[in-house]
Subunit: 148 residues, 2 copies
């Protein structure tokens, strides 16, 4: 689940952790009372400061999605899936709208946007990594096709 964290992304690492936990809860991969890795263990695995992981866990606790059992660890809250799913979908709809509007403002066509989404749906590239080469090739292809 945390293997797609990319410390070089423009998305802060603590936000990446928060998002990945939320998506895993929303999709049912992380169930109620499932234990998250300790901040120390996860921080070592992804090579960041333990405070970064601790901040993400604190934020998730404030959102009511996880709870801390002192001395035992951090666990997924009961009933988190319903709330999380609705919240994630709303956030994703908002972000999709933002990017599609940006694409429109930059004069990209509906056809191009559809093509990029299709390529992204089909790829297994990590969320916060660089887009796969096949997608970046679409940028260039569209540009040269304009010259015709």
């Amino acid at each position: 689940m945390f293997e797609s964290i990319n410390i070089k992304s423009s998305v802060p690492v603590y936000v990446q952790i928060e998002n990945l936990v939320q998506f895993a809860i929303a999709s049912g991969r992380l169930k109620a009372d499932h234990k998250l890795p300790s901040a120390q263990v996860l921080a070592e695995k992804i090579q960041v400061n333990p405070n970064t992981v601790a901040k993400a866990y604190r934020d998730l606790e404030v959102m009511g999605l996880v709870y801390t059992w002192h001395g035992m660890g951090v666990f997924v809250e009961k009933g988190a899936q319903g709330r999380c799913s609705q919240q994630c979908r709303k956030q994703i709809v908002g972000r999709l709208h933002e990017v599609v509007s940006e694409a429109k403002a930059a004069a990209m066509s509906a056809q191009e946007i559809k093509q990029i989404c299709r390529a992204s749906m089909a790829s297994n590239a990590s969320i916060y990594g660089d887009p796969p080469a096949a997608m970046l090739a679409l940028v260039k292809k569209q540009k040269s096709s304009k010259k015709k």
Copy 2:
């Protein structure tokens, strides 16, 4: 062009200004040597601190997209469109990939993602504002359709 700036958005205002200028250059709406509104005038219009606008203009100058003619104002660089278009497309492909991957991780289907993109393409809602009600309705509709 700057009417879609939203000071309540999670995207910082100076980034919104930078993006809007870039999209306008990329799409050919802002041509070489076109004068941008002064930082003072734009700041008053969108009700922000003039330093916010000045920061955006400085960043755009560092990117080589605009130049300052002291005492005269800020103008679009010659040849900016080509560079800007390529840069914008790359950035938008990256962000589309990120959001589509997030949607996949949150267990949204290809059908839903397509539907949301289509609704966004069809809407005239401001880029950085809330997504239109019709799109938010898709979030709920999908949720209730799951219960069937």
